[in-house]
Symmetry: D2
Subunit: 255 residues, 4 copies
């Protein structure tokens, strides 16, 4: 039943306190954050869900969940959180085999969610014009074991989308209204567009552009999450709450 | 590029106002809700995203999105909404190929989301002890074109889970604490459990049972959604808001 | 200890189910909503918190609370709810003896809250340009027993505020930015302004105008409320939730 | 028009950045937080809303608003915030002249709000059994200039309430259910009780006790607040959000 770890797997090492370290199983000594100097190649041949000792600390070797992969990413700028990303996947009907354009890879957090949803045969084409984000997104995708499902292209999604007949276009850029025409042309009939923005003004401009363009079923949603704490003295919502992230506007091309 | 409609496809007919009718393309005259007496077999051979006229009304024939499928289900009792269901899929790491136990099929809304996520090769085994819900869930799954990915078994998930080494167990029953031991036994190492409950008291009892059982990473979340309306006179949150649905408690088996 | 009912008192009649009827004790047979044909003068000389029988129904005679008074008002257009109104009173430091300008009486709901806070010696001067609202606000104030603390003047608050050195100016009009200059002139040093608006665009325009005008401590808040239901099967948030009402922007004149 | 500062006044000194220092005008050199060594008696005879220079910093002398008074209090343990306190005042119909029992003074934040609402002739009787809280609440009340409207008595509200015929009883203690009988006896007919608790379990136990006791109109509310930020790049909800504080359960004695 137990699976063996092979070169290039992504694995999670969890210590007794539940702290997790996500790493790629490549041979060669390196410095690993929260672990120190280590050769991940030592894990090859071990079994998943087996305990190992590194230094004087015990770890469980786990297969990373999608949540582990998102939690572990290196961030530059704010990422799209799963509470927003999962609803994009639902509302844009993203599924195994789809071809999806992403406008703005950023740190690659949403890219990871999208890649996870279209695999094994689908593809994410991610337009990103900034070199430092191309680099960080790629690094995060590789560590998440999802890089083969993504093409990051160094282009500005507001200028042109070369692909045609795509299943969905997802925008996370400061000026999404400038990419709505391109999205309409790139989408297949029945395809979906989604745009993520922090401010109400961006929402207004984007939605008006979607209407002009002839999109249907336009809708803007905000998703909020609260944790409930089950404690000794009873149950209550958490004193620490996640503040505003962004609004997501959705639409469908039906003509 | 345009796909042809074949017998047994699920299709959506959308009128000019955006109203949608989900139906299965089976030959034979029948009464269709919001459409009247009609033979869906007439659609065979037409193309998706083509316009047709039925009676004196025009419709666009569309491939149903997962959102169309959920919206169209026949409800008996409250369903788990996508805002909650999608987060279950994320947090339980449900993906193509997984084997998932569902405790309580209800009307099949979550079953549809789950089946959509594990296809083409994964499987949902749904325990449901009430005949009327088995019937309605099956009907909804067939209409959504996802029945082949689901086995509904007439059994009580609190009594026994026969399957072993499953990827996830999802509970939507009034007494989830009675199924937590069974879930632990059925799960593979690294597998996830989620439990959906409307009341805080159910959350407290379930979380305490999860702790007793040795589950890790226990966490309870409530997800809220607000629509933003972009109108003539400006942008504002909707005056109509979705009230409380339920809390979801998550945990992982790591030992 | 028990107080006697006198002519012109405002009283509440509460039936066994908790339904409440607010009426003014004036002699003369009239049609009373939810009660039928009745002479409220019959109550004169009875005691508060005594039971009486009208027709074949039993009622408790109660002194109306501020909440009873707000609940009973006749509405034309949306009112400012206590959750928003009470926070205006707090943040604008409105207290016994204050002189407050209200721009837009509407149905008088906020006027009632304000009048209740400044009595016995303070005064609300309410600018309202629409005759039908002057009429309805006055009717509601009389029924609430608070009319003596309010002057409704038929004027547009965006044109001119005659009063000087007032403690606070509260705006509930579609174009509050047009009244911000007038508010600044009318306020004493240390005085407060508040503006209630449903849309984000109104908030933006108003806040920018407040900044231009030299107001300090500008802040915009949205207040949300959720009811918790304690039921047989446990405690949960209500399935029925109040949607969006409005944002309130606050500022203080300190120069 | 401008008022002169007298001995024992509470004043606010505001610097150019809007930072505020609340102090009592008592002669004598002392160390003032955020100001250094200073004799507040130097302010006697100056005018409100006049600028002064202390050290090399400029300040505006202001009359403190109720919001300034709450913001400035010294805290020991969590306080009841104005968003919750103002709704207690509304729902319990607390007004000028009322006699109100407070069970648990804590740091005195709610006591300040209540005292501000019942003045000039009403009275707050605050039961507090812990010496350190009696001390801190008194200190905060004096600095807020509201101490004369409050009697803090060193007693446990769950043991006995000596007063009769009071207008309202407000509870902020860990076991409010133990004080509900006492509250019922102390209240006049038509009087109100409110109980503030952080956990759902406390709410459940308190509401059940209120029902047993024969209270009417029992209702539990949670109040949430979000700030909107009007920035250069548009308007959005704040990234920093206030987490959970507490639930308030309300009821009225009508029999």
């Amino acid at each position: 039943m137990s699976k063996t770890i092979r070169e290039n797997d992504s694995v999670v090492l969890m210590d007794g306190k539940g702290n997790r370290i996500l790493l790629t199983v490549e041979s060669g000594i390196k410095k690993v954050k929260d672990l120190g100097v280590y050769d991940p190649g030592d894990l090859i041949g071990a079994n998943y869900y087996q305990q190992i000792t590194i230094g004087n600390k015990k770890f469980m070797i786990m297969a990373p969940s999608i949540s582990d992969k998102i939690t572990a990413i290196e961030r530059k700028a704010q990422i799209i959180l799963p509470k927003d990303g999962m609803f994009i996947i639902f509302y844009c009907d993203i599924k195994s085999g789809d071809k999806v354009i992403e406008g703005g890879a950023g740190s690659g957090a949403l890219t990871i969610l999208l890649a996870n949803s279209v695999r094994p045969k689908g593809k994410i084409i991610s337009y990103e014009k900034r070199d430092e984000f191309i680099k960080i997104a790629k690094k995060n995708l590789i560590r998440a074991g999802l890089n083969e499902h993504v093409n990051i292209v160094k282009k500005d999604v507001t200028e042109n989308i070369k692909e045609k007949n795509v299943d969905a276009v997802i925008l996370d850029i400061p000026n999404p209204w400038d990419a709505i025409d391109n999205a309409f042309c790139a989408l297949k009939s029945g395809g979906h567009v989604a745009s993520y923005s922090p401010t109400v003004n961006q929402v207004e401009k984007t939605v008006k552009k979607m209407r002009e363009c002839g999109f249907s079923g336009i809708k803007t949603l905000e998703t909020l999450q609260r944790e409930m704490v089950v404690g000794e003295r009873g149950v209550r919502p958490s004193f620490n709450v996640l503040g505003h992230t962004g609004y997501v506007s959705f639409a469908r091309k039906v003509s």
